[in-house]
Symmetry: D2
Subunit: 328 residues, 4 copies
């Protein structure tokens, strides 16, 4: 019984391409055609890049064609200033490689998705709160001050339950009025393993696509819908309870497998049977039940700080010291 089939039955999408790729390779027992994997190693982090090369690869992994960079680092969620500085530089390098700027004059809109009232979903709004908007400075302060500064705007529009509007609609409206050259969306992700919570960052050049979300289905936020390249930045902050539930059962069966009658059993198990068992325990919430560590507030605060630092470093060609005087 394949994990991919169980997740499909449970209605669970993994937000991280690296996890989806790992499952796929594991189930196939070989590399997947149409998908390649690169790795870079740093003292503080491993960088793994899943390239979904063509529609065939995309169909198998369930992700749009494009590049999905995962930065793995145990120090991400830990409150250590020196490590944060170093890690933010590693992340900034990845941003610089993936951001499709044609010149220093290209402008960017940063969008923080998620609900600021719910800690595990507040990553996006927190990054926006730590981002320095500069778009309004151009033309208002002496030109020598904005020479090294890219035009950056930033918004945290809120979630559907608060606004009543699909977030994609709000962003489309703002993009049409402000015509940024690139959009960067920040969001909390649902992982397939609690190990990844607060230790991974995913950066993708594909934007956000329907069905790959934590819960609310929403329209795509990508180049096709917005008309400009969309870079998606995500950090896993929760795991679906259904994922945990399935892991537990698999782990249990694995443990029992040496006993002859259970070898048979594991053959007879099927996704709908698992769904029935899991739904029964997770009722009445089921899909909307999340697993998250108690210290998630610290993990998110630290991660938001590092991402904001990395973005600031990657976006601005050079920031003259005097600029700070105009930025408060």
């Amino acid at each position: 019984m394949k994990k991919s089939e169980i997740y499909r039955e449970l209605g669970i999408n993994l937000d991280m391409a690296l996890e989806a790729h790992n499952i796929l390779r594991g189930e196939a027992g070989r590399e997947i055609s149409g998908i390649s994997l690169d790795e870079e190693n740093y003292d503080l982090a491993k960088v793994k890049i899943v390239n979904v090369l063509d529609p065939r690869g995309a169909a198998q992994i369930g992700k749009a064609p494009g590049k999905y960079i995962t930065i793995e680092s145990d120090v991400l969620g830990i409150n250590n200033k020196a490590h944060h500085q170093e890690l933010s530089e590693i992340i900034a390098e990845q941003f610089k490689k993936i951001l499709p700027f044609k010149s220093d004059q290209d402008s960017v809109l940063i969008v923080g998705l998620g609900n600021w009232n719910a800690t595990p979903d507040a990553l996006g709004p927190k990054v926006v709160g730590k981002t320095m908007a500069t778009r309004h400075l151009h033309g208002r302060v002496p030109e020598e001050l904005t020479n090294g500064l890219r035009s950056v705007s930033a918004i945290a529009p809120g979630v559907l339950g608060i606004t009543g509007i699909e977030t994609a609609e709000i962003i489309k409206g703002i993009v049409e009025k402000t015509t940024p050259d690139v959009v960067i969306v920040i969001d909390a992700l649902a992982a397939g393993d609690v190990h990844r919570i607060g230790t991974n960052i995913q950066i993708a050049d594909t934007g956000i696509n329907p069905g790959s979300g934590v819960g609310n289905k929403r329209a795509a936020i990508n180049q096709e819908t917005l008309g400009v390249p969309v870079i998606a930045v995500g950090v896993p902050t929760v795991v679906h309870a259904g994922v945990i539930a399935n892991d537990i059962i698999q782990s249990f069966v694995e443990k029992m497998r040496t006993r002859p009658p259970l070898t048979d059993l594991s053959k007879e198990m099927n996704p709908p049977m698992l769904k029935m068992i899991i739904d029964q325990v997770l009722q009445p919430y089921s899909h909307n039940l999340m697993v998250t560590p108690k210290e998630i507030d610290d993990l998110i605060e630290n991660t938001a700080k590092i991402i904001a630092m990395a973005l600031s470093s990657a976006l601005h060609p050079a920031m003259p010291e005097e600029v700070a005087n105009y930025l408060h």
Copy 2:
């Protein structure tokens, strides 16, 4: 020396039409042609309606033609549930009169202007936080549940310093995508008298127009720019320090006026001289220095609650009890 001239010299615009009208009438010593005033009295509140009838009236008062309703009530900022209920009904009546709905199917977008990080400027975002969005329910819940519910969406876009984008641009983008029939903007206002802080609400059918703001000049948010009627709801939460400074000098001179040499003096005073004196004391902040009571957090919390109650009552034709089950 006229207050209107001094304020012009100091670069101060009064956000409340009622105050601007009072000054104008006082200085003219007669009613102003092109402007009419109506009054309604309730146990808990006085309602004063300034009608700017034509361009001549508009030019004199410095406000766009339209209706400016001021609700004055000492109980507005006081934490008393019974009074809040009664007052919110009075306000709801005024909303019903001014909202240009053609049918119960007309939709509305509520926009909370202002900075949620600065207490005196957080009124708009707070009202949005207490507003129940319903736009997304239509089509997702059984029709009998949304029959009595108007389609309401709500957003608090943040201020220019945080987003880098003129708020008017953001709203225009969202209006074009979501096509509401009416827009309601909520904002904190600057008054000309500390008495009005936390005791007055202004409702105008003119939207928000350049130059009438607390500080940042921003493009108009009105029917002309958005293409749909815009109702502006404002509550004074601050007074410009320059207004206080001028009041102090006037009060001082008034006190001294009986002494012959000072009668001459008050004749010689002129707006630039006053500006010089006032700027010297208020440096380096000048225009951005605000006067606000210490308990402004309570005033804003209470007022936001009442406005949200009044809007909910005025907007929804009838809210079936079962709906609440879908609204969390």
Copy 3:
């Protein structure tokens, strides 16, 4: 294999006496001596009262002797004003029965436990934020205004990770200085079933006792340590991931039980084996991994409002209308 033994192995304590009692009775197949159960039914709520009558009952259920009232109501977490009003009156009745006041002059200290930065743990601080402190009014406002008002003080001291101090120590210090007659502590609880999240309130006259907490072991907050009666109010907002994990395995085994070889299997399973399986999936967080619904922010906002309303109604003998004027 008994649930109580598995939980002991996993280091999980159920915060709700009703749940612990249910397990105990289920495992014993009979009523437990030393523990009685009463029920009251209302339109909107069921009230179930577990009385731990003596040390023998206490030893079995793992809870201090005393009264544990559980109010169960599906409307608790739903944003419906009429229901909230009615439900808060039911809760107020329970408060009135359990609060050991000797006179209207008895004073009370309300303590909101928990971390305001982590949504599922923010219930206590939120109730404190909605509570009207009156202790400082006595002697500062005319006596006729405070006649019907009990002296209420309120504090949200923060959690050990933020303060570095055991919460019990902070409260003891404040109690010694301010000598309240009764202490009420509000806290988020960990339940044994997701059904109870946001639908149950527990009120106990035993205070909070070591080992019965969501995570951090902390010293007792009870009559013995504080010297005054302590009423504990709790609302389940999370379930330990370990509880879910065990439920999943049990449910799985139950489903398989009809197959002869598995009947044997379930006999061979034991708590340490389960712990090994569960720990492996929940690493590295294990005990600190919580399951919570996505909409937990709304559940907590609504529940905090209702508890604050119920407390206000239960605590103050009569609140003269004029008082509100002094309370902002």
Copy 4:
């Protein structure tokens, strides 16, 4: 007419000893016996130290005997990371000089005074939020990790209007239970000049004494009441509206002084007359009306960050890198 007499009439206390000293010297036209002033100059800051040497000096300046260090720096409120680092080191040096530690084992309690709901009053709680508590680590983590870490606890108790309890009482209770060797209290101050808002920090070894507050009279928080040395850290975030009002009148009269009849006038002016004029304009708020810049939220965020950095650097003898792993 002396400023000191006017302020007495208006009921205004200046929180900053440096300002009180400046007025005193100006009015006396000479140095004040019993008070000395030292200065140190840095690239980014000026440090001015007012030493109130004896009871005679104290009586004149209206401040308890002790040392009042004022750090003046325009870069304090500006969002520039390099400057913040440098400035925090200057401040840390001053902390090290004034903190009366006898050994690295001496423990400290940091208290953030003020109301987190009102931006200009939120400095204290914000510093506490950015402070790393370590007291609970001693005994819980391997000893080599806490060797270089001082025991630090931290609390933001809230204000009288929220708790109903004098803050001094709460702190006394906590100090008695936790027996710190030194207490550090952080508070927002009221200045006598808008120039100082967000550009000055005052550090005093006298604690906080009645009558020197922004508004609410509260009992002293000092060595006498707590039994341990109390260091008070304050940042001006507001100016009383009455101070501005008086400055405006003085500036006006100064401007007019060359005219003979007005020379007489200024002689006839007296504090009660000024009070009458000022009260009339500031009614109904009077003492509780504050002047603050619009961007006060940014000023406070930056200042809180710098103070937290300086405290961390000054308090911990040496922080081993591995410690960070335990601090999240």
